[in-house]
């Protein structure tokens, strides 16, 4: 039997037997959706439809329907892309890196965090696709033998590295998620009766791949999970590094800095954890997971946000210092213009939301409060969107000739696509919350005896 220090707070509250965990995890799947679910779903679905119409309009008319101009030729599309990819990072960090570090608190939240990753990366992948203008030719980004003579992709280009990085990240995340889901789908399958709910029985039989829980299978399962975690860990760090190289390998002042890869990865983890908190604080209420997603889980995540937020703040200041220290006047102007130019307000929002607000987590009462955490997580989400906006738009809008300096303002189509992806994300997440086992119950059952509050109290006697 595993032992755990008495001083550690329990990760599962209340008197929970193995069967109670089964009941709690299968309840949202077996029951009917409540009013709040339908309200959220309707709003998300309307946003999603608006997004679909905006994307259809973009594909039909062209990229000219966006607010881009010759100077600012990359704006909301790539901002949203980087934002969504960043949000995806926390899921893999929780499921892979925390597995390698044997952090038990990951078990109540890893399933939803991974779902968030997959849905987030799917939203991100939409942006390069529609930005191509002719998405039906998207397969040109792959090195496929073709009839255009020897027209190959360029393996020196960071944009191609991105294709490989994101497709690998997405597909490996899906596989990692699914391997963990198989035993939990089997649990749901065995809960449904063939006679009373034949459709659900069939569905979960299909999804569970005939899992039976044999000793040999569990042994392989554990090794496969560990190796997948080991493989996904460098992916977490490589994907956003490669995304940052889209900028860092260019010659635009404000972009070509070597600090970008670590700075982007930290920012991604920072924003990803904020999004996990936003989602889980709502979800623990809506699907009654208060016993499993406790204030301790939130506090652990807040500590990671405090750490990554402080590191991101250090990166911002390092950038300013390096601009000054480099002695390159164009570089210096780029950063001076960010902070004091026409887009000073976006820089102020970025600094305020990403550097100042996470510092509130030094205060015990704020770090251990659901409401404060929820509000601050929204701030971080907004701040991280503005970070990408600042990097992209303010670096471009003052380009090489003052005659071509311009400003960017989004068109209604830009806004529609962005809100549409938020809608699409929530549509997927809400459907997931009703049909999937939202907690990795098989894994969670292994820690009941060491981290459940009931067992801890028993040991104290």
């Amino acid at each position: 039997m595993q032992k755990e220090s008495e001083i550690r707070d329990p990760l599962i509250l209340g008197k929970k037997s193995y069967h109670d965990i089964t009941l709690d995890v299968s309840k949202p799947v077996e029951g009917k959706a409540n009013k709040y679910w339908w309200i959220l779903f309707s709003i998300s679905f309307i946003m999603f439809i608006w997004g679909v119409l905006s994307m259809a309009y973009t594909i039909g008319t062209g990229i000219g329907s966006w607010g881009l101009n010759k100077t600012v030729n990359w704006a909301w599309d790539i901002t949203n892309f980087v934002w969504w990819i960043g949000i995806g990072h926390a899921g893999t960090l929780i499921s892979a890196v925390l597995l390698l570090f044997r952090q038990k608190w990951r078990m109540s939240i890893n399933r939803s965090a991974e779902a968030m990753t997959i849905f987030g990366v799917a939203q991100a992948a939409l942006f390069p696709l529609i930005h191509m203008g002719r998405p039906w030719l998207a397969y040109w980004v792959f090195p496929i033998p073709n009839q255009f003579g020897s027209l190959w992709v360029n393996f020196n280009s960071p944009l191609l590295w991105d294709v490989f990085a994101i497709s690998t990240y997405f597909s490996v995340s899906v596989v990692f998620w699914y391997i963990g889901l198989i035993p939990d789908f089997a649990m749901l399958r065995d809960r449904f009766n063939e006679k009373t709910s034949p459709m659900k029985k069939k569905l979960y039989s299909f999804l569970s791949f005939g899992w039976s829980g044999k000793a040999k299978h569990w042994q392989r399962f554990e090794e496969v999970s560990l190796v997948l975690a080991g493989l996904a860990t460098p992916l977490v760090f490589s994907v956003h590094s490669i995304v940052s190289m889209d900028f860092a390998t260019s010659v635009i002042p404000g972009w070509h800095t070597t600090i970008f890869p670590p700075y982007f990865v930290l920012g991604a983890l920072f924003s990803g954890f904020a999004m996990v908190e936003t989602l889980l604080i709502i979800m623990r209420k809506v699907v009654n997971l208060e016993a499993y997603i406790t204030i301790k889980h939130i506090e652990y995540m807040n500590i990671i946000i405090l750490l990554t937020g402080s590191l991101v703040g250090t990166a911002y200041i390092t950038e300013l210092f390096m601009a000054w220290y480099s002695g390159v006047e164009f570089e210096q102007y780029a950063f001076l213009n960010r902070a004091t130019g026409p887009y000073w307000w976006s820089y102020a929002i970025m600094m305020g939301c990403n550097v100042l607000t996470p510092q509130l987590y030094w205060i015990n009462a704020i770090r251990k409060s659901f409401i404060a955490t929820f509000i601050l997580s929204i701030f971080v989400n907004i701040g991280m969107w503005f970070e990408r906006f600042v990097i992209i738009v303010t670096s471009l809008h003052r380009d090489f000739l003052p005659s071509s300096w311009s400003m960017f303002s989004p068109s209604i189509i830009d806004i529609g696509i962005y809100l549409g992806t938020i809608g699409f994300f929530f549509v997927l997440f809400l459907l997931y919350a009703r049909t999937f086992p939202v907690i990795a119950q098989a894994e969670l059952k292994t820690i009941v005896k060491s981290s459940g509050s009931e067992y801890k109290n028993k040991n104290n006697d």
């Binding site: 393996f155 490989f164 597909s171 596989v175 299909f206 791949f209 040999k216 299978h217 569990w218 490589s238």
Partner: protein, 171 residues
């Protein structure tokens, strides 16, 4: 002689583990153990060999990096060398730093996917496969030891009840 199947059902993984050790020390063959979650030490108690999934993943990873290297070499160096930004692609070793990201991604891609496919095939898991757990409660909170016995089942049943089985069924 007719083969009989005996199921011993347990409520707790520690009791199960002790029972398995006891049964093994009495030289009785266990056909299979079904558990709702991975029980640590069960594979050793049952005398299962170590799984070689990690070795498979390593081999697949080597395959991935070789594939990516050969693909890039053929495309960028052999088939159509290009001069991009004054950095000509006439030799692999001069250009290899910019090929590292794709080679790394292909290593992970191959290792992760091929290992997962191997795992699914080795465990006989595929969409539509029939589940083999004799009792649906084994994915919930019960632990089950399955025996296939020729002749008298008394010895096994006694041993099961002695080591704390909550239910013993015979088929």
């Amino acid at each position: 002689m007719i083969r009989k199947t005996v199921y011993g059902i347990f409520d707790d993984e520690d009791v199960l583990l002790n029972s398995v050790k006891e049964i093994k020390s009495n030289n009785i063959d266990i056909k299979e153990v079904y558990t709702p979650f991975p029980v640590h030490g069960l594979d050793k108690a049952l005398g299962l060999k170590e799984t070689r999934m990690a070795i498979a993943a390593f081999v697949y990873g080597c395959l991935g990096i070789t594939f990516a290297g050969l693909m890039i070499y053929n495309i960028m160096i052999i088939d159509w060398p290009m001069n991009i930004g004054g950095k000509p692609n006439f030799t692999f070793y001069h250009n290899v730093p910019s090929f590292v990201p794709v080679m790394f991604e292909c290593t992970v891609l191959f290792a992760a996917h091929l290992m997962s496919i191997t795992y699914l095939i080795k465990c006989g898991l595929f969409p539509g496969a029939k589940s083999e757990n004799p009792d649906p409660r084994t994915t919930d909170d019960k632990f089950l030891i399955e025996f296939e016995i020729e002749g008298s089942t008394k010895e096994v049943k006694d041993l099961l009840s002695k080591t704390g089985a909550s239910e013993i069924n015979e088929k």
